[in-house]
């Protein structure tokens, strides 16, 4: 049994037109107009295929066959899915591939009236890219959010989550009731693009994800003094941007000092007051650091914090390090890894075990049930940009391995 490759590729192309921006990228951040359009399009595809959709209070979508046998009622389900939202100016495969391949699997099982011992759900997780909160939708399933939590969230554009959410017609009260009972889930599996260069370099078609890196970080804010750029000698300045720069240039060495795999990124920086002829008083940057080892994450936190305070002290500025509690590394289920490897081998595909440097909803789902992830190659390892690309053949191969894995889990 195979997925309908042409249909899946057509779906990916159609969804890739929603939220497209000049330059070919995709801006489909969660709860934007483009996100709403993508959700409506996804629901139309489900309706077209005769599938049922349930949407929870935070916007996670669950797709099932209405023909499911009554005997399966209450039996823990096999979940598979990914997300429909994108980063600003991102690519058309990150999230979309796993969400649409899972839909295709459920569609095929429904079309072929395959009888399984467990229910199967295709899932579209809400706001994986963290327009409002990192892995927002799956976090809502695992731990939920209180009204106060939701009130405190602001988006990339500075909007308050509750304003945007309610303006888009969502119900805040329902958004606080989203946790699921782990007993309802048998296992989960997610297909995703690798977003890195390993599979391409190896010439392998299938990645069997061993673990998802842990993630730490937050913001660092340097506060110096705003001075006139013409009248304040270099020696008298307390330039917040120069301080931030002195920290950023240390990140490669800090990462290297902790492990070969550690990465540290400043992806956003803003300065105040922000005029060409004023020495910056405030420089605020995001910091994102990752490693496969929880001890290394703690070491990165310490090294970055120490370096930030060192820069500030040497230059006479104030600094504030606001790091969130780190998200620990997450290990994928050994049994599911074995199933993925066997499926790849049975289909004559080369598979290799590798870690995920990116965060995924699967790291949340792994807290609820045995979880696995399947990677397919990213051309040039590129992701989170308009150049993100995966070959058609790799997409169909990945979806077929996903279908095999879902069937094995739901039969098992």
């Amino acid at each position: 049994m195979c997925v309908d490759g042409a249909r899946l590729l057509g779906d990916l192309e159609a969804l890739g037109r929603i939220g497209r921006v000049p330059g070919g990228g995709l801006t489909r951040t969660s709860f934007s107009a483009a996100d709403a359009e993508a959700r409506a399009w996804y629901r139309d595809r489900c309706a077209e295929a005769g599938l049922s959709v349930r949407v929870d209070g935070i916007g996670n979508m669950f797709v099932s066959s209405p023909d499911e046998e009554p005997a399966l009622d209450g039996v823990p389900a096999v979940w598979s899915g990914s997300h429909l939202d994108s980063v600003p100016n991102g690519g058309r495969f990150d999230g979309a591939l796993g969400a649409l391949a899972a839909l295709e699997c459920v569609r095929r099982l429904h079309e072929e009236r395959v009888r399984l011992s467990r229910p199967v759900r295709a899932v579209g997780y809400s706001d994986e890219e963290g327009n409002y909160s990192h892995l927002f939708g799956s976090s809502a399933l695992v731990r939920g959010f209180t009204s106060a939590d939701l009130e405190a969230l602001t988006g990339r554009d500075g909007d308050r989550f509750v304003d945007t959410f309610t303006a888009a017609g969502w119900d805040l009260d329902r958004a606080t009731r989203t946790t699921v009972d782990p007993a309802a889930i048998h296992s989960t599996v997610e297909l995703h693009i690798e977003q890195g260069p390993a599979l391409e370099r190896l010439g392998h078609q299938i990645g069997i994800v061993s673990a998802i890196v842990g993630l730490g970080g937050g913001t660092i804010t340097f506060r110096g003094r705003a001075d006139h750029a013409g009248t304040t000698s270099m020696a008298m300045r307390k330039d917040a941007l120069t301080a931030a720069s002195a920290l950023i240039v240390q990140f490669p060495d800090i990462a290297r000092s902790v492990s070969d795999q550690a990465v540290v990124t400043a992806g956003i920086i803003t300065v105040e007051p922000g005029a060409a002829n004023v020495v910056p008083e405030v420089a605020r940057m995001t910091v994102d650091f990752r490693d496969l080892d929880a001890a290394h994450l703690a070491a990165l936190d310490r090294a970055i914090t120490t370096a930030a305070h060192g820069v500030a002290a040497r230059r006479g500025l104030d600094v504030r390090v606001d790091f969130e509690p780190a998200i620990p590394p997450s290990h994928m289920d050994d049994g599911i890894q074995r199933i993925i490897g066997e499926s790849a081998a049975a289909r004559g595909l080369l598979g290799s075990s590798l870690p995920s440097g990116a965060g995924h909803d699967s790291q949340n789902m792994a807290k609820l049930a045995p979880t696995g992830m399947i990677f397919v190659p990213s051309v040039g390892g590129r992701s989170h940009c308009p150049d993100e690309e995966t070959a058609d053949r790799d997409i169909v191969n990945g979806a077929n391995v996903l279908l095999d894995t879902i069937i094995a889990l739901a039969r098992g």
Copy 2:
């Protein structure tokens, strides 16, 4: 004869309430609603005093006494003024002091019906802080702007000048007819806060400006590659923000290598795509460099450009240096410097000669006529920030020296 100190201080306080923002700063950028309010307030003060106001096509305002003798018609005038606009979150003295003190001088001359051999004009220059173009109003007087020039201007907030200008009720056609005949101007003199710490340190009340620093700069844009912050190893990145940081940290050494007075500032930086989990593809910063010597300006331009290309080459990024032609240093008229020094001495004030590290409309006016500048102390040298402060006594002293200087020039 003296200015009415209480009235001048009252005017400064009243104008300082227009455009005030939380935290006590002032955001009265040109052609904003606050700027329009300040202009209306200024015209009301003129009307109240029985003075006439003329406004040119770019918003420069010229105030004169309607009682001026017909015999002075066509006689080159003595101009004195400064600007009403501010930087974002700036202070209440930069520009406002010189504009209001000049108004006070014309008001006093009008009240006392002082007979002089030349007309006197109080001037309010438009957009000195360069919301749309550095020293916009005085540049319009000196060289003028074509429609194409104006079409190309964008503001700090990314708005097109022509949109904001016409929406505020100004006439684009008139804005292209603003140049003045140098023969119509006898001399100009501007009172301003020092915006630096020299006078305060010396304990002197009056600064006799010898020269205004030259100014170079523009933008530098690094273009690397957007990559996923989790899946791209540190070694494989082409991180535009890290490159920009590596350049910014060199600015103090570059300045020092050229001269003791040279300053180099990055006041604005923006990154794209600007997400916490994406390696920045583009980092664009403003660069502002200044020196009193034209050869040093050229050396700064070369050193910064070389450093930017060096950083880009070592890291495999592209870089683009877009520097405007430098504004050369401007020397103040010796005769006017002498008059200012004599006035200070006659009033028992300590004066010292010093350069201006900040740009001023006077550097444009010096191209049209002999020009001088008077500085008064800035508390702590602070400027372009809410903490900008000058003592009441220093304000009144400066305005009296300005009055003496205007009278000496108009009698001369």
